[in-house]
Symmetry: C2
Subunit: 339 residues, 2 copies
C-alpha cells in the first residue's frame, strides 16, 4: 500500500509500447467491442475499463462469463470481440481459459498481468506487463492501480489527450501524497470495527472504486461489505440497509447529476449509522459524518482512481485493530485456482 506511488513512478516510462500494440488490436476494423475476463481486484479494474474506454473512447466493454469457457467446444461465439484478460498472477485458470478460447476462435487477445511469462501471457497476442514487482499482501493494492495505469496507457494510444498525459505523469506524486495523508488520519476509520456492514456506492468510474473499496475492507478487515451503483441500490437492496452499518459514497465531480448524489446521501443517512463521502462537492462533504475531500479540479477518471486510497487505508486500519496479518488475511491465498 505504502509503495504505490513509487511503483507507479517505476512504470511511468514502461509499458507504452505494449499499450500501443494493444490499442492497435482494439482499433482493428473487425473489432466491434472488447470482452474483459478477470477476478477479484482485477475484475474491478475491468469495471474501470468499462467506463474509461466507454466514456473516453466510445468502446463498448463487456465483462466475460468465465463459467461458459470451460472447454472450447460450446463456448459463446466471440466474433467481433477483442478479448482482454487481467490477472496479477497470470495464473487464474478461468481467465486463461477465456483467452485460449478467444484465440482458438481467431480473435485478438490482450493480457494485462504482473507476471510475464505466465499462462495468461502465453495465451495473448499482446501482453502489457504491469512490472511493479511482487505484491507481498494477498490484497492487491499497487497492482490494482498499476492495472488502471495500463488501461490509461491503452486509452492514450486510442485517443491521445495532452491534459490526460500530463496528469498521468503527475500520478505517482499524487498517489504518494494521498497515501501519506490518509495514513496520517486513519484513526477516523476506527469505528468500522463496530459496524455491522459496510455498503459502498458509486457510479461510472466511481462504481469500480466502490467495488474495490468494498473488496479491500472485506479482505483485510473481515467485515461484511457490499458495493452498488446508486440505481441498483435503490432498486430494492436499499430495503436491507442496517442502522448499525456504515455507508460509503464515492462521488467525484463528473457526469453524474449532483442532485442524484444528494438524494442518495439523504437516503443513506436515514437508513445507516455512519456515512463516509469521498467527493469534492462541499455540500456532499458537509452532510457526511466522515468527509474524505478529494483534490479539486481532477477529472472524473482520476478523482475516482485516487478515491480508492482512503478505502485501502480504512482496510489496513481495520486489519490493524483486529490484529490481522495483512500479508495473508483470513486464510486467503494469493492465487485462487478456481475454474
Amino acid at each position: 500500500l505504502r509503495d504505490q506511488g513509487a511503483a507507479l513512478a517505476r512504470r511511468a516510462e514502461l509499458g507504452w509500447d505494449s499499450a500501443a500494440a494493444a490499442a492497435a488490436l482494439l482499433r482493428r476494423p473487425d473489432v466491434k467491442y472488447a470482452v474483459v475476463a478477470a477476478r477479484g481486484s482485477s475484475d474491478n479494474a475491468a469495471r474501470y475499463a468499462q467506463y474509461l474506454l466507454g466514456a473516453e473512447a466510445q468502446l463498448t466493454v463487456a465483462l466475460a462469463t468465465p463459467a461458459l469457457f470451460r472447454g472450447p467446444t460450446d463456448a459463446p461465439n466471440l466474433g467481433g470481440a477483442a478479448v482482454v484478460g487481467i490477472s496479477q498472477s497470470g495464473q487464474s485458470p478461468d481467465v486463461v481459459n477465456v483467452l485460449r478460447t478467444a484465440r482458438a476462435q481467431g480473435r485478438p487477445t490482450i493480457a494485462i498481468t504482473n507476471s510475464h511469462p505466465s499462462p495468461l501471457a502465453a495465451a495473448a497476442d499482446v501482453t502489457v506487463d504491469l512490472a511493479v514487482g511482487a505484491e507481498r499482501s494477498v490484497a492487491a493494492t499497487k497492482t490494482y492501480l498499476a492495472s488502471l495505469h495500463a488501461l490509461l496507457q491503452i486509452l492514450e494510444h486510442l485517443r491521445p489527450d495532452k491534459d490526460r498525459r500530463r496528469r498521468l505523469a503527475e500520478l505517482p506524486s499524487l498517489v504518494d501524497a494521498t497515501v501519506q495523508a490518509e495514513l496520517a488520519t486513519r484513526a477516523r476509520f476506527d469505528g468500522l470495527h463496530d459496524a455491522s456492514v459496510l455498503t459502498v456506492t458509486g457510479r461510472r468510474f466511481g462504481y469500480a472504486t466502490a467495488h474495490e473499496v468494498a473488496l479491500k475492507v472485506r479482505e483485510l478487515g473481515g467485515l461484511t461489505t457490499e458495493a452498488f451503483s446508486p440505481p441498483d441500490l435503490l432498486h430494492g437492496p436499499v430495503a436491507g440497509l442496517d442502522a448499525g452499518g456504515w455507508a460509503w459514497l464515492v462521488a467525484p465531480d463528473g457526469a453524474e447529476d449532483p442532485d442524484q448524489h444528494e438524494h442518495l446521501l439523504t437516503v443513506l443517512r436515514q437508513r445507516t449509522g455512519t456515512t463516509v463521502v469521498a467527493a469534492q462537492n462541499p455540500h456532499l462533504l458537509a452532510a457526511a459524518d466522515i468527509p474524505l475531500e478529494l483534490p479539486a479540479d481532477l477529472p472524473e477518471w482520476l478523482a475516482a482512481l485516487v478515491a480508492v486510497i482512503p478505502g485501502q487505508v480504512a482496510a489496513l486500519r481495520l486489519a490493524e485493530i483486529r490484529g490481522v496479518d495483512v500479508d495473508r488475511p483470513h486464510g486467503l491465498s494469493k492465487v485462487t485456482l478456481t475454474r
Copy 2:
C-alpha cells in the same frame, strides 16, 4: 408469488410470434453479440440470459452500463450489437435511454416488458409482452419467471429443441407444484430472522438464481443479503463471511464439477452458521443444514429456474415473521426513476 404457475400457464401460448421476431433480429448477419439493459429483478433475468443464450445458442450476451447512456452524444459505439431492454414497468429511464441510443445508432432493439405500450416498448423494434397482468407486490416474482420464459421462447426460435419445448409446456404445473410444496414447509426458514446476513452462491444459470434469491430476501425481509459466483467469493470476499450468517448454495446438476460445489460447501460450513443447499446431488443435500431437493432429471437451465422458488418463499416467510407489508416493503416503490 402464489399465482406464478397460473401466470405462466396464461402465457404458454402467448409471445411466440414476437419471440420469433426477436430471434430474427439476433440472427441478423451484422449482429455479433447482444447487450442487455435492466435493473433489479430484470437484471437477474439478464444474467440468466447470459448463460442461457451463451451456453445454448453460443451468443455472447453483455450487460449494459446504463450510466454511459445519459445522452446520445458520447455513448459507447454499439456496432455489432443487438440491444435488449428488460423492464417490468417499461418505465425505467436508464434502460429506456440505452434502447433509444441503440436505435439512434441504427442498431436493432428488443423490449421484454409487462407494460405495452410503454416508453421501453416505444423504443424497441420488437416487443415481447410478458402479459402476466399487474404484479401487486413491489418485489417481482411472476414477472421474473415470465421474463425467463420469454428468453426461453427466444432461444427456442434460435435453436429449436424438442425436449426443451416439452419441458416449457410442463413448466406451469412444475412451478405451481413447487410453490405449493415450498409454502407448506416454509417454517424451515424461520431461523433467517436471527441471521446476520444471507450469502447466496451459484454458478452459470444458478448465478442468476443466486442473485434473485438474495434480492427477494433483501427486498421483502429487510435482511442484508449478497450473491456471488463461487470463484468470485473465493477470490477475497470469503474473508468477510460471518459465523452468524446463513449461506445458501444454488447447485443444480449440470456443467459445474460436483467437487467444486463440495469444496465450496465445506468452506461455507466452516465460516457461516447455517447452510442451505438447493440441489439434486445427494452428497450435497446430506451435508446441508437445510436441504432443498430439486426435482431429479431436470436440465440445468430448468433446475436453476425452479430453484428461485424456495428463495421467494423464504423471503415471504421472513416478511411474515417481521410483519412486513409484502406489497410495499420497507418504503420501496414500484417504479424507480433513476437515471
